[in-house]
């Protein structure tokens, strides 16, 4: 195998090979870049990945649909609720399940919170990489509040396994709503303060503006999606182009950049957080208007009944048994469903043969596809610029490797 473990050497030049990663703190994840360096400047690079490949696609072929949700958690673990919801909606699309509006709005709340937590980490870490640690501390506290909301809704914090096929496992309680409202009240001022620290900061702009600029043509040629594509000026957002989970009921803007440089990516993510706040506020209003207590669709064939029902009710016991043993027929067909994840279009391609588990499941992971331009675009860049370019791409190792 002539796989280049070290970058190519030329006899007449004095370049050095630098291993950036696999466990370098600046890569924020387990992946390696073998860089050929001419002093501070990168001549060429090779990306090596697969360090945390866990064969999710293979495992998914051996698991019933509802047990695949925890696998999706571990793709983009900064915004696992989006992955969970994306998977539930894929199965619902396959089975033709119509979710009630209230479920859709509750899902929107959770997904937008996840988007905020994803962007917030990316932007604050970008600050850390440019040498500004304090903004990170302000925003990290807010992520904690988002995780407390997840905790209230589903009991978990990072790998949430939130929701079920057809809806949620339980209704949002009053504390959850109170926490969401409290978060919305407190988050805006903190985000404003963060922007005041960064947006017009001379050092930050010098480090980011004009660095790693990508034009729209190249970005689309490399199949980029998400905030980094929008920073290049392409207004592609799955939430608008193919609305899922009743996103068409909401009023929000899609921010786009002009240069596609790191500063634009930062601004796009920042504005998306403001838009997410707008969406959550609207969703809370809409939830109020919907009849209370509805948190899942009426699909007893796929939605596990509550435990007390299972012990006391014949039909619930039958359905419980059928769901767990996978005795319910599913359509023999294929479906592609995508959601707007934290990093772009997160797609699920599911081929079903009528059984309890997928015949084939493929995750279209935005980080994996966005990251492939990293090594080519790093050529000619300073190492310090390449590092902040990496954080602005927001490559999550779990999503990279699946």
């Amino acid at each position: 195998m002539d796989h280049p473990i070290i970058a190519a050497r030329h006899e007449l030049t004095e370049t050095t090979t630098l291993n950036l990663g696999p466990t370098h703190p600046a890569t924020h994840g387990v992946f390696q870049n073998v860089l050929e360096m001419d002093g501070e400047r990168i001549v060429s690079g090779v990306s090596t990945l697969g360090y945390i490949h866990r064969a999710f696609e293979k495992i998914a072929e051996h698991r019933p649909f509802y047990q695949i949700t925890p696998l999706t958690d571990r793709l983009n673990y900064c915004s696992s609720p989006i992955n969970n919801m994306g998977w539930h909606m894929t199965v619902e699309k396959l089975l033709g399940i119509q979710t009630p509006k209230r479920v859709d709005y509750l899902r929107v709340i959770v997904m937008e919170l996840a988007r905020i937590s994803d962007h917030l980490i990316c932007n604050s870490i970008l600050g850390v990489d440019t040498g500004a640690y304090s903004g990170f501390l302000y925003l990290m506290e807010q992520r904690e509040h988002i995780y407390e909301i997840y905790e209230e809704v589903c009991g978990a914090r990072l790998t949430t396994n939130i929701g079920r096929i057809g809806g949620f496992e339980r209704d949002f309680n009053d504390t959850a709503f109170a926490k969401i409202k409290k978060f919305l009240k407190n988050f805006g001022p903190v985000l404003k303060e963060f922007e005041e620290l960064f947006n017009r900061n001379r050092i930050f702009i010098d480090r980011t503006a004009g660095v790693a600029a990508v034009d729209a043509e190249t970005a689309m040629n490399y199949s980029w999606t998400g905030p980094i594509l929008r920073a290049c000026g392409v207004d592609y957002d799955v939430r608008v182009n193919e609305p899922y989970s009743s996103y068409e009921d909401f009023d929000f803007d899609i921010p786009v950049g002009t240069n596609g440089d790191i500063y634009d990516r930062y601004l796009v993510r920042q504005e998306e957080m403001w838009q997410s706040i707008r969406i959550i506020e609207q969703a809370l209003e809409k939830v109020e208007k919907e009849p209370k207590g509805i948190f899942h669709a009426e699909v007893p064939e796929f939605y596990l009944p509550p435990k007390e029902e299972v012990y006391n009710n014949m039909e619930a016991l039958i359905y419980h048994f059928k769901i767990v043993m996978g005795e319910i027929d599913t359509p023999k067909t294929e479906v592609y469903h995508c959601v707007e994840g934290g990093n772009g279009e997160l797609g699920f391609y599911l081929v079903n043969d009528g059984g309890r588990s997928p015949y084939r499941l493929h995750f279209r992971r935005p980080s994996f596809i966005n990251y492939q331009m990293y090594a080519p675009m790093s050529a000619g860049m300073l190492l310090s610029d390449a590092i902040i370019n990496l954080s602005s791409l927001n490559v999550i190792a779990g999503e990279l490797d699946a």
Binding site: L49, M220, R360, R364, I369
Partner: protein, 167 residues
């Protein structure tokens, strides 16, 4: 949803390629059809360059394995037209031993890693690919793990045997 209907896309393709497009269907509204490995690159470049269709975005390339069929290894392309907001799914089926298909990197740079991943898991050779070697699995792996004959776990291991529930 889309600005042009699936029927328009299919009509245009039929006009251009005729019987090279087979088994057209639309599961869940997504136009799906099969073609052969000789025609896949002409069809993709037609979709990409046509003035009206403008399928300018490659969403995904992946593989699938149906053992015990005449052409068991499949390559599946998802292409997206941002302008018209329409998607198309194209499938090509290949023989099991040494499947070869031309690369789509001539049309989209983004196809590079998607094809490497497909090669890594299914052993499909993409002819003309600039650097086709494994991407997620270790380099000295000898099998293609997403093929159906490859078990999830070593079937001979005994440490996880459960004599009560018959594992």
């Amino acid at each position: 949803m889309g600005k042009i209907s699936n029927q328009t896309v299919l009509d245009k393709l039929n006009q251009q390629f005729g019987d090279k497009i087979s088994l057209a269907a639309e599961p869940y509204g997504l136009l799906t059809f099969e073609t052969t490995k000789e025609d896949i690159i002409p069809i993709l470049s037609f979709l990409k360059q046509d003035e009206e269709l403008k399928f300018n975005f490659l969403t995904d390339i992946t593989g699938i394995h149906y053992p015990e069929t005449a052409l068991p290894i499949g390559v599946i392309y998802h292409v997206h037209s941002f302008v018209n907001n329409v998607r198309v799914r194209i499938k090509v089926f290949l023989e099991e031993i040494n499947p070869v298909i031309p690369t789509a990197t001539v049309l989209w740079e983004g196809a590079n890693w998607m094809e490497r991943e497909t090669y890594d898991f299914f052993g499909i050779t993409f002819e003309g690919h600039p650097g086709l070697y494994r991407i997620l699995n270790v380099d000295d792996m000898t099998v293609f793990p997403m093929r159906k004959e490859y078990p999830l776990e070593d079937p001979n291991r005994v440490d996880k045997k459960d004599f009560f529930f018959g594992r």
